[in-house]
């Protein structure tokens, strides 16, 4: 297939002919654009991509990608994606999911795909609300939120995606925001190149049912002071004036002001995304405004053997020594007798 080697793509090549049916102004449009851009830059033949999703607004995503796509059932995308990747390890598998799909009905599959470290890229659109069912609270909704199913406010604590990922022995966790095309494209590319389950949490805005839910940290006026973009090997500096940083104070992270109390850049933590010990990554993933800036970028990226590659290796190893080479051999193995 000569055509298959032609890998000069533009984002347009990944657009399917289907009408995009998300609400005008929905953050999903920007996510679609950044993933299409990332894919174009990766240069992998497009027939190698399989997009798998569950149910929810985010899960319509595969229909809009000119690639192989499987729109599954609610909560089960991690399981379906696991099957796709294990069956056909040559594919680059993307799972597109949301906070309800992945963390409520699909919570079990979500932690198990991470535990097994199956080499897929899992993009979780977090808008802290159920959109497709028109506005009920989700497992990431903050405590007290008033929604259609919590008219007096919720009384339950939310999950933090990053804490859950790292708690399930996750090897890759990144966070980005729907509007930020540059950061997002970079994060998706790194997730794609990472061997293992890479989870990307996208802070996404639901313009209809939870509009502005991330504004307290992502609004143009405040975002530089209330978020920090982590880059491997660089000191943890943030702020509009780049005058704030993060240090380790005893067992806790602490925000400091450069120049105050003799603090200099040298005192700041240097981000090490490749550190196997998840302690600092866990704390970084859990940082929450107003005590801390919210961490963006690649928070953790620690490679280890993937399930899919281990399975291929195990089969090859067993086959090498096998007495049984075909079904006829199998049927005649063990105790048989002639009549």
């Amino acid at each position: 297939m000569a055509e298959a080697t032609k890998i000069q793509y533009t984002a347009k090549d990944f657009k399917s002919d289907q009408e995009v049916r998300w609400c005008p102004g929905c953050g999903d449009h920007a996510i679609l654009a950044s993933i299409q851009k990332a894919l174009a830059e990766l240069g992998i033949p497009k027939e190698k991509y399989a997009f798998v999703s569950g149910i929810g607004c985010s899960s319509r995503f595969p229909y809009y990608m000119n690639a192989y796509g499987f729109h599954g059932i609610h909560g089960r995308a991690s399981a379906i994606a696991s099957g796709v990747k294990v069956a056909n390890p040559d594919l680059m598998v993307w799972q597109i999911t949301g906070d309800g799909d992945a963390l409520a009905i699909g919570g079990n599959h979500f932690i198990h795909i991470i535990r097994r470290n199956i080499d897929i890229n899992l993009v979780l659109f977090n808008n802290e609300i159920y959109g497709l069912t028109k506005g009920q609270y989700s497992p990431t909704s903050h405590k007290g939120i008033v929604t259609k199913t919590s008219p007096y406010g919720t009384i339950e604590e939310p999950f933090k995606v990053g804490e859950l990922v790292i708690g399930a022995n996750g090897r890759f966790f990144a966070r980005t925001a729907d509007y930020n095309l540059t950061l997002s494209t970079d994060v998706y590319k790194q997730a794609a190149n990472f061997r293992g389950t890479s989870v990307v949490e996208v802070l996404q805005n639901c313009v209809i049912f939870n509009d502005g839910i991330h504004d307290s940290i992502l609004d143009k006026e405040v975002r530089d002071d209330r978020t920090i973009v982590l880059r491997h090997g660089e000191p943890m500096i943030f702020g509009k004036e780049r005058d704030k940083g993060i240090i380790l104070d005893g067992l806790k992270l602490k925000v400091v002001k450069l120049g105050e109390n003799g603090v200099t850049e040298k005192d700041l933590l240097i981000h090490d995304a490749h550190e196997p010990n998840p302690g600092i990554h866990y704390m970084l993933a859990g940082m929450k405004y107003p005590d801390y800036p919210v961490a963006m970028g690649i928070i953790r990226a620690v490679e280890s053997q993937t399930y899919d590659s281990a399975l291929v290796e195990q089969i090859a190893k067993v086959k090498e020594k096998a007495q049984i080479k075909c079904v006829d051999d199998l049927l005649h193995s063990g105790s048989t007798w002639e009549v």
Partner: protein
């Protein structure tokens, strides 16, 4: 049950010198067409292994046979109680054997609870060999007896053989450096030795098995088991009570290479065979559940044949990984039992909507809910046919004997792959754990499997474009250039585009149903007369019992015939044509009447009688005969 050693044994009429010398001492040899033996004891007593070893030895001798393990759900229920009794029944014969037998001719009872559990399953005058060391007052109480079990259950007229097995085993191993607990663990081999003598079976093969299992890692255990096996054999020879033994001549069996096989292993192997024939990888996504777990275990062991086994986090993930694997171009299969099938329902619907080839094996057990996990039943039929939201047609087929699970799992995969549809294969606990000798087929004789894999033809691929005859869509494997497409659980057009257009939904619904209905399935074959007074209708795992009952009644002169269904949806085309030829129809099944009501719906012109049993047990031949006699004569048989 796997036989551990790797030696192919050519069966001859061989009798070792030693056995021959013992033969000389047999004072009375009873020659029989068939004998039913039941091994029964605590679930830790090793009765399943004992039964299996005896079955293997009998198969090697040339008997036809059928086995039925009957064990509790609890791994180790309180010792000595009826709840903890584990049994293994085998029917061996020198004629064709189709069931494990209704009543035991020989019972090996390791404790009083085994008597309590089996008293009503003994033939009149049966031989009962029991471990008299275990027949203490304390154990009587545990088993729910006030006094002597044989008196209380009226069994004193039977041929009772009291063997102080615990003492004899201790004595046999007194020179071995072994702790008392390990010594007592060999008791089952003593019992096996007795039975081997009783049926004049060769010990050699079983000794080879013991060596293969233990010799390398635990040579002492291997020696102890062999010593005790022989001790049991010589004990039987010496003890006066055992003055008679049985002779079951080899059965006239078609020429070929044979092996013993259980339903679960046959199911697993049929799926591997189908993958090989289709030239595809086999993927199994599954979650352990009794009595289906053996299928996952057998497939997990077949990495040598490239099987990808995935032990999922739950039943839903089992089928969803399977769907993913099927989408990606593997033969995707999942195995489960009733409660698991319930959990998989939504995902089976996705398979129907997306039109992906998957096989779902449901090893039925007693329900509802957790029900009777280790017991057999046929009560998932409606769940298989209808247990999903929406109009959701799937192919439903059922295997009828342990060994034909191989053929039906192969066929399930063939239909799934060639017709791009989920197929539910129904087996049951009785088939899954039961075993029988099986003439090994050759792969070159198995039918071809040709999945409709799409090729790039220089134009846009339409995932729901169909073959005009079969209505089957093409399977485009991700990774193939130019065939990028989207499928999913939403209603769609021919292109795969989401569509809520009312007429399109109705059309697609009809197409999915028609696709299943157009699958060619073999015609029914009648056992007996082409017309007559009574037709006994069965499906799935009741085959052996119905066949035996009908054939015995025919020998007794009744006008009775039988027909057995393996294809439930779609039904064989000649179903109504056959039914029309009989005055009475009776449907026998192990549920409240699911198949009979399905037939009432599909072929309303007939009047159906029904005979149902929901006890977690297979039919007995006797009860089927009794019911059929009532239908024919208005009174009981005999």
């Amino acid at each position: 049950m796997h036989i551990g050693y790797k030696k192919n044994i050519l069966l001859q009429n061989k009798t070792s010198n030693k056995t021959q010398s013992i033969m000389g001492k047999r004072s009375q040899v009873i020659e029989r067409d068939a004998v039913v033996i039941r091994f029964s004891g605590d679930s830790g007593d090793g009765m399943q292994l004992t039964g299996t070893l005896f079955s293997n030895a009998s198969a090697l001798f040339g008997n036809d046979l059928a086995t039925f393990p009957d064990y509790p759900a609890e791994i180790r229920a309180p010792q000595g109680t009826v709840g903890g009794v584990s049994g293994f029944q085998v029917n061996i014969g020198h004629k064709e054997i189709n069931t494990p037998g209704d009543y035991a001719d020989v019972l090996v009872a390791m404790n009083p609870a085994a008597i309590r559990a089996n008293a009503k399953w003994l033939r009149k005058g049966a031989t009962i060999i029991y471990d008299s060391d275990n027949f203490t007052e304390k154990n009587f109480l545990k088993a729910g007896y006030k006094d002597d079990p044989f008196v209380e259950d009226g069994l004193n007229d039977n041929n009772l053989i009291a063997a102080p097995i615990a003492t004899l085993v201790k004595e046999a191993l007194k020179d071995m450096d072994m702790d008392p607990k390990t010594v007592q663990k060999t008791k089952n081999m003593f019992a096996l030795g007795i039975v081997f003598w009783l049926f004049d079976r060769d010990l050699e093969n079983t000794e080879l098995y013991i060596d293969d299992k233990f010799k390398k890692k635990k040579p002492l255990i291997a020696d102890a088991n062999k010593i005790v096996l022989r001790a049991g054999y010589y004990y039987a020879e010496t003890v006066e009570a055992l003055n008679s033994s049985f002779k079951i001549n080899p059965a006239p069996i078609a020429k070929g290479t044979y092996r013993n096989i259980t339903g679960n292993t046959a199911t697993a192997w049929g799926l591997i065979a189908a993958a090989e024939k289709a030239g595809l990888n086999l993927f199994i996504g599954s979650y352990p559940i009794t009595p289906a777990t053996g299928i996952l275990e057998d497939l997990a062991a077949r990495k040598d044949l490239g099987v990808k086994s995935f032990q999922a986090e739950d039943e839903i993930a089992g089928i969803c990984t399977t769907l993913g694997a099927s989408f990606a171009g593997n033969l995707g299969v999942t195995s489960t039992s009733g409660p698991g099938l319930a959990l998989k329902s939504e995902a089976i619907g996705l398979g129907v909507m997306a039109e992906l080839p998957i096989v779902i094996v449901d090893v039925q057990r007693g329900g509802p809910s957790t029900g009777l996990p280790t017991k057999t039943e046929q009560s998932d039929l409606f769940q298989a046919l209808y247990g999903r939201n929406g109009e959701s047609p799937v192919v439903v087929i059922a295997a009828s004997t342990p060994s034909d699970c191989f053929n039906y799992s192969f066929k399930a995969a063939k239909i799934a792959l060639e017709h791009m549809t989920p197929v539910i294969l129904l087996t049951d606990g009785y088939l899954a754990n039961g075993s029988e000798p099986w003439r090994i087929p050759s792969m070159k004789d198995m039918p071809e499997i040709k999945p409709p894999i799409a090729k790039y033809e220089g134009k846009e691929f339409l995932p729901y474009e169909r073959d005009v005859e079969t209505l089957v869509r093409k399977w485009a494997i991700p990774g193939t250039f130019g065939l990028e497409h989207r499928i999913g659980g939403l209603e769609k057009t021919i292109k795969g585009t989401v569509s809520y257009i009312p007429e399109n939904h109705e059309k697609m619904t009809q197409l999915r149903e028609d696709k299943v209905q157009r699958i060619e399935v073999p015609d029914l074959k009648v056992f007996g007369e082409s017309k007559g007074d009574l037709l006994v209708i069965g499906w799935g795992g009741t085959y052996g019992h119905i066949l035996t009952a009908v054939s015995e009644m025919r020998e007794e002169g009744y006008d009775i015939s039988a027909v057995h269904f393996n294809y439930i949806k779609p039904l064989p085309k000649n179903t109504a044509e056959i039914f029309a030829n009989y005055k009475k129809l009776v449907v026998c099944e192990l549920n409240g009447g699911q198949f009979v009501n399905y037939l009432r719906m599909k072929h309303q012109q007939f009047n159906y009688h029904q005979y149902n049993k929901v006890q977690g047990l297979p039919f007995t031949v006797e009860e089927i005969k009794d019911y059929c006699t009532i239908l024919l004569e208005g009174k009981k048989n005999g």
